[in-house]
Symmetry: none
DNA sequence: TATGAATGAGTCTTCATTCAT
DNA sequence: AATGAATGAAGACTCATTCAT
């Protein structure tokens, strides 16, 4: 596949991603994608066999997009600061009004139960969990955080985020609800000022 | 609508519920229902206008099904016992291998954002939340539980459950994971033996 | 068929007539009629086999409704007055905004070409034509009208009315258009003042 | 849309036109068209969204078909001759046994009241009316016709034709009836020999 | 007579997918 | 590589008509 083809493939992926964000997984059709791309009916099939194939390619490319969380951390930040930053980012994602891929991803995994390593949700979760755990560990060592079970605390926070996210997507939640939940968990981690 | 019709309607609801459990919301068609019911093409349309209408009728009937959590509580149970029972019930739901309506409900609300009072997910969540909060309050008064913010603790537990549930439905989680999460939260509530 | 049945039959006819006026012939279904009548599905079939049968019964009952044009004529009216009255009546029908059976009748005869005596449109036309012809004849004898071919003049006027009616039903015409047409024809009949 | 597509589109239009002529507007289904065209179920939908859309395309193409009435007029024809030719053409249309689009057009406008410029019936009528009016005017100037109100005479004739046409389509009329009507109107226009 | 549940044929419409060019 | 016309399966929905009660 030449460079031109790769560009085309990426072009389709980009357009399709938007559609999945807006319409979710099950309501997105190849027709939608073809029309949005403005290329021929057969053109999309040259690169992707069907909606599932296309969506999986999007998931793959999502995985490789490093969120570069690290980039946002100032040099002299305390562990509390970094944790706050991490949490703020999650909060932003949860409350975002912009259509995100979340819903489509959930739908995809409802239809395609995959427990193995290729599960994007698991990987994404585990990645965040790992970052969080390391962070808390270091904060504990440093004395900024209580001497708690870092893994368990990280895990608890992550599941709360997961719960808040699905709640936000299925019934809507207020910012204050998110804040309260975060506050509650954080109290158990950060020694009060 | 005569008694016979009500029976038929309920019959359809029952069959359709099974299908929604197995296939989720978006993959269920009126054809599926018609065929599973073993009635004529137009037969289901006599009672329900379309898949959405049918699903909403199912949600309504779910709402009225009292879970009667209270029935399972022995007379002489301590608050810790009751809480344990509550948590056990949730755990069972989360880990259940039987297809449940959960996925279909999520899908339905992905497609139909309803923030008002009629939101089944919200109502269901709030109901459990209320029960849990009252329980913790009483446990605190009784001295069985730490003197914590009952509402916040209940809410934290509920979101963890929500997170565990969606995780279970999209990637699968082990019983030990659920146990660990529950344990972590419970430690903050129940004074250790 | 008892009196009660006849009442029911007439009740259905009345309701159905309204529907045909509003929806025309081809867009009216037995379902419409059943629902509008508020009686059982089978109930209508007891009296009428299908839409066509029902419509034909309506046409029959229309035929027997004497328009009693004569009733509206004052004792001392001149032939010109009577003609003017006749024409005014036709004009009213043509311009009426109230949904009339006209469209349904046209549609019925598009589908069911009937050239014999039972053709409602023909009978209705011929009836009016006869009245008009007699009227003109008498007016001529009386010296009020020009000495023209009464039959031909009557026929011309009737076809103009027919043309105006179908024009009104398919594209709308203004009152002034109708007036102009009537004026033109009348000039050839009535000796000017 | 390529040339091939345009051909296909025109092919469908042609076939569909025949069906509309034979079955009228309301009794024609997309299925009829699909089957008559010998193409696949979805094939027609590639070009037309539904029956209405298809019929409107036919009306458009009718509009552009110049009747080229002028072509039939011999060089040395008198105005009386031309008028006679015009009238003969109309008579032919009225009495034609070949199924024509007329009925479908009437039906279409019964269902779709359109008073604006896009009304085919109005345009068609006005076009003929204009030709007729000009013809009579010139005949008057030339001394062949009586010095009458050309516009009114033309209009009278057109409505008589309209009346005859709908009469022909709903109950049938004899050639002699048409002749008599034409005769009557013509007497008022053409100075007798 | 009257009811209204049930049937099933008929139509519309959408899309995934193929394939000749 | 790319096109886009064509296919046909799938599903939604409506109604005329019947029939057991």
């Amino acid at each position: 596949m030449g460079e031109k083809s790769i560009n085309k493939k990426n072009f389709i992926l980009e357009i399709a991603r938007d559609i999945f964000c807006k319409k979710g997984y099950s309501r997105t059709t190849m027709k939608d994608v073809v029309e949005a791309c403005g290329i021929s009916r057969g053109g999309v099939y040259l690169y992707f066999d069907n909606v599932k194939d296309l969506f999986e390619a999007i998931l793959d490319s999502e995985s490789s997009k490093d969120e570069d969380f690290g980039d946002k951390i100032p040099e002299d930040a305390s562990y509390s600061d970094v944790l706050a930053l991490f949490v703020k980012e999650k909060k932003k994602q949860i409350l975002s009004k912009k259509p995100s891929l979340d819903v489509a991803i959930y739908e995809y995994y409802f239809e395609n139960k995959i427990s193995g390593k290729k599960n994007f949700i698991r990987n994404d979760f585990d990645m965040s969990l790992y970052v969080l755990e390391e962070l808390i560990k270091e904060g504990i060592e440093n004395g900024e955080f209580y001497d708690i079970d870092a893994k368990a605390a990280a895990s608890n926070l992550m599941y709360v985020f997961e719960g808040l996210k699905i709640a936000a997507r299925t019934r809507g939640i207020s910012e204050s609800t998110v804040d309260e939940e975060i506050m509650y968990v954080m109290q158990g981690i950060i020694a009060e000022d």
